[in-house]
Symmetry: C2
Subunit: 129 residues, 2 copies
């Protein structure tokens, strides 16, 4: 499988939106907590919080909101802005992958040719998981 | 300006092709030397050489070739494989950017709204270059 990861740089502000930030938003939406989201990504809470802050600075608004108590016991959700960033990024990703499909397959075929045994019995170290 | 950077991961091999590798190929093609290419990217020669090795492992072939002497004094060039990787990656990049253009503009507009002064006189630190 070939996976495309995108980083979007906004110039000249120097700010960016990348795969780690977006995955964090996705996990917060799924798990209702920045802490749980961070743990599920093997990331420290501090790092997750800094990523949230960075997005909030870049887009000048809250991307998550925390409710305390209530009938569902509260928790952290994405704001409308957070949801919008997540959806837009995922749409960019899928459109990009579709547009580049043939070329991505061509590259993957070159890698696959590599993984197969060639002329000699020489073996390459490969991380097959 | 909004810039899209792509990283292509080939699973399950664990190998990848990313913007640094491709820029290195491009600079080698322009400058005829891995050392000059590395310097122009603010990268150590060792790091550049490791990136070249990584590409050669991934795609099982030389991506650069060095000629010594000759009428043009020799130098390092891209092989057919190196040229193919460079061109394919750049084509993926431009197709992806075109496919995602509207969404990228929408994100950039959100960032721009951020850069503009808002309700209060509060100013945000911004790296304007």
């Amino acid at each position: 499988m070939t996976r495309l990861s995108l980083r979007i740089d906004f110039e000249p502000s120097g700010s960016a939106l990348g795969p780690g930030m977006v995955q964090l938003l996705e996990r917060v939406a799924e798990q209702g907590s920045i802490r749980s989201a961070a743990i599920s990504m093997g990331m420290s809470y501090r790092k997750a919080w800094l990523l949230v802050q960075e997005m909030q600075d870049t887009f000048n608004g809250a991307v998550v909101t925390t409710e305390i108590g209530g009938s569902d016991g509260g928790g952290t959700k994405l704001t409308e802005l957070g949801t919008r960033l997540l959806k837009t990024y995922r749409r960019i990703e899928s459109r990009a992958a579709r547009a580049a499909e043939a070329d991505l397959e061509a590259l993957a075929a070159l890698v696959k040719a590599n993984a197969a045994p060639r002329r000699s019995a020489r073996r390459k170290h490969s991380k097959q998981t």
